[in-house]
C-alpha cells in the first residue's frame, strides 16, 4: 500500500523517543520516480567544484538526478549550467566528462553553441527556407533555473522556487568551511577518479556516509589488517592507518541541520596520522585555533542530497547519483590542499587507496551490504526499520557545547563517547525527504486541479 501523506513514511516522535523509517522509502519504484522530481529536481544539488573548470571555456558534464547537464565557464569567466541537449532534435550534445571547448557542436545536424550556451550556428540556415521570424527566436541551450556556488562548491536547482544557496546550506556552511579552510591556498581534487555503481537505493550511501556503527562489523577485516600492520605482522609499511578501535572511549557526537544536512564527528585517536597535521601551522593562522582543532577531528559531512565528505584518515569527496530505485552511481575523489608537500600528499594518496577506493579494503564491503539491505526491503516490505535509534536518549534539540564552540546553531546535537555510535545524523535527511515529497505532492495536486 502507498501512503498519500509522505509524512507517514517516517515516524518521528521525539516525546516517545521513536524514529522509524518505512522500508518502501528505499524500494518502491513509484516513490523513486517521485524522488527524482521532488528531491533531485526539487532542491539544490551539488554539481562540481569551481576548480574543475578553472579556465575560460572549460566544461564539466554531470547529472542532476536523471538530467544530464553541462557546467561551462564562458569566455568572460562566468559559470553556466545547461541541459545537455541540442535545441534542434534534442540529441545529447556533449559526451566527454570534462574538457575545454569554445564551441559545442551537435553530432547530429551540426547546430553549434558557445561556452555561454548561445547558439552561434544553425547549419545551412540561409538555404533552409525558414519562416522569417525563425532567426529572431531563442535557439540557445536551456539553462537550469538556479545556479550558485559556496566557497568553490557549485550547486544548481531545477526548481526555481528555492531559497538562496547560502540559506539552503544554513550552518552546514561551517562544515564545508572546515574542509575548504584546510587549504590556505585552496583545495584540489587529487587526479584519478573512481566511478562505481552499487545495487541499492541512493539513500543507503547517504546513511552509510554518517554511520559509525557498521565499522567494527562490516570493516572487521580492514580493522584487523590495520592492527596487524601496527603489530609488525604485515610487510605492508606504505600506509599509515590509525587504529580506530582506540577511539571508542573518546568524545564524539553529531549535528543535524535543516534541509537534510548533517555532520558526525569524533576525536581522532592519532591526529598526527592525518596528512593535514603536517601543515597545521599555516592552517591555524588561516582558520583559527578552534576550527583547526575541529579539522583534525574525524568528521563525516552530508550536504543533502548528493554530496558527502569523510575526513577520517584522509579526506574523500563523494557524489551520489540515483540510477534506479535499486541502483546508484558513485563518484569518489581524494581532496587535498593545493601545494601540499610531497610526503604529505603521498600519505594522503596511500590512505585514500587503502580505505576509500572501490578497489580498497573497505568500500566493497559497504556496497555489498547496501545490496543486502536492498534485497531485504524487497523481501519484506511494509515493515519499519529500527536503524535510527542509537543516541535517541541523549539527543539535544538545538546546539550543545561543541556547537557553541563552533558558533553554529544546529537543529539537533549529540555529545557522548564514540562507543555510542549514534544514528541520529540520519534523521535530518529523512525529515528533509518528507518536506520535499510533501511539497512535491502538493504541487502535483495543484497542477492536476488547474
Amino acid at each position: 500500500m502507498r501512503y498519500s501523506d509522505a509524512a507517514d513514511y517516517v515516524i518521528d516522535n521525539p516525546d516517545r523517543g521513536e524514529f522509524l523509517v518505512h522500508r518502501d522509502v528505499y524500494s518502491d519504484p513509484d516513490l523513486f520516480e517521485e524522488e527524482l522530481r521532488n528531491v533531485f529536481e526539487g532542491t539544490w544539488v551539488f554539481l562540481c567544484l569551481d576548480s574543475q573548470i578553472p579556465q575560460p571555456h572549460d566544461f564539466y558534464c554531470t547529472r542532476i538526478g536523471r538530467r544530464s547537464v553541462i557546467v561551462s565557464r564562458d569566455g568572460d569567466g562566468a559559470v553556466h549550467c545547461f541541459y545537455n541537449t541540442c535545441r534542434h532534435r534534442g540529441a545529447t550534445l556533449c559526451h566527454t566528462e570534462h574538457g575545454n571547448r569554445k564551441v559545442h557542436v551537435c553530432d547530429y545536424h551540426g547546430w553549434s553553441y558557445d561556452s555561454g550556451g548561445r547558439n552561434v550556428d544553425i547549419k545551412d540556415q540561409e538555404t533552409g527556407c525558414y519562416r522569417s521570424a525563425f532567426g529572431g527566436e531563442d535557439h540557445d541551450l536551456v539553462s537550469v533555473p538556479r545556479l550558485d556556488s559556496y566557497r568553490g562548491f557549485i550547486f544548481a536547482s531545477l526548481n526555481a522556487d528555492v531559497p538562496p544557496l547560502e540559506e539552503h546550506l544554513g550552518d552546514a556552511r561551517t562544515c564545508l568551511d572546515l574542509i575548504v579552510d584546510q587549504g590556505p591556498d585552496g583545495m584540489e581534487l587529487v587526479p584519478g577518479r573512481t566511478n562505481y555503481t552499487y545495487d541499492a537505493n541512493w539513500k543507503l550511501q547517504l546513511d552509510n556516509g554518517s554511520d559509525s556503527y557498521h565499522l567494527t562489523s562490516t570493516h572487521r577485516s580492514f580493522m584487523r589488517i590495520v592492527h596487524r600492520r601496527a603489530e609488525g605482522k604485515s610487510a605492508n609499511t606504505q600506509v599509515k592507518s590509525p587504529d580506530f578501535q582506540k577511539r571508542f572511549d573518546m568524545p564524539a557526537g553529531m549535528f543535524t541541520f535543516d534541509r537534510g544536512h548533517s555532520m558526525i564527528w569524533a576525536d581522532h585517536p592519532v591526529p598526527e596520522n592525518k596528512p593535514l597535521s603536517g601543515t597545521m601551522g599555516r592552517v591555524r593562522t588561516h582558520a583559527g585555533e578552534v576550527r583547526a582543532k575541529w579539522m583534525l577531528r574525524t568528521r563525516n559531512t552530508t550536504i543533502f542530497p548528493n554530496l558527502q565528505f569523510n575526513d577520517s584518515t584522509s579526506l574523500v569527496l563523494r557524489t551520489i547519483t540515483p540510477l534506479a530505485v535499486g541502483r546508484t552511481e558513485m563518484q569518489v575523489y581524494s581532496f587535498g590542499p593545493v601545494g601540499e608537500p610531497a610526503e604529505l600528499r603521498r600519505r594522503r594518496v596511500r590512505q585514500h587507496e587503502d580505505f576509500f577506493n572501490v578497489s580498497g579494503l573497505a568500500t566493497p564491503d559497504d556496497t555489498l551490504c547496501y545490496a543486502d539491505c536492498q534485497d531485504g526491503y524487497y523481501n519484506l516490505s511494509g515493515d519499519w526499520l529500527q536503524g535510527f535509534q542509537r543516541g535517541m536518549a541523549v539527543v539535544t534539540h538545538g546546539p550543545n557545547d561543541p556547537a557553541r564552540e563552533l558558533g553554529i546553531n544546529p537543529a539537533t546535537s549529540v555529545l557522548g563517547k564514540y562507543s555510542m555510535q549514534n544514528e541520529m545524523a540520519f534523521h535530518a535527511a529523512y525529515l528533509e525527504w518528507v518536506r520535499l515529497m510533501t511539497l512535491g505532492r502538493a504541487r502535483d495536486q495543484r497542477l492536476a486541479a488547474e
Binding site: 605492508n236 577506493n357 545490496a371
Partner: protein, 167 residues
Amino acid sequence: MDDSARLADGIRLLSREARYLDERQWDDWLGLYLEDAEFWAPAWRDDDTLTEDVNREISLFYFESRGGLEDRVWRIRSGQSPALTPMPRTTHLVTNTVLDEGAEAGAMTLHSAWSCHVYSLRDKSQHVFFGRYRHDLVYADGAWRIRRKKIVLMNDYIPGMIDVFCV
C-alpha cells in the same frame, strides 16, 4: 637465450599467474613476485589519460612491495570481508603477449591483453574486467619472477567491487 625462448618462458609465467589466481593458490601466486615487487594499476585521470605519478595521483592499486598483496591474501583468507564471502569465482585470459626487444640477460618486459570474468555468488551476477598488462620479469634463483606489474583497467566503471584477483 634467444627472444623466442625468452618469450615462451614469459608466457608460461603469465599463464601460471592466471591459473594460481583462478585456482586460489594464493601462496604460489605470491611466490611469483619478488619481495620488493611493485604492483600498480593506475586510475583514469579523465576519459583519455591514466594517472602517472603514484605519489601525487590516485591509483586503483599501488603497492611498492609484495606486502600490499599479502594484506589482500590475508583478507581473502580471513573470511571477514562481506565482499569476499563467498569468494567470487574468476577466470583470467591472458593473450597477445609481446616481448620488448633488446632486453638484458636475465630480464624481460612483456605486454599482454587480459580479461577477467568474475562471477559473484552473492548475487549471481557476472562481470568482465579487461585491459592490458605490462610485466617486468627477472631471472633469479633459477626461475623467472615478477619485479613489476602494471595493470591498465579499460572499463573503470566498476560494479561495487574490484580486488587484486579480479585484474
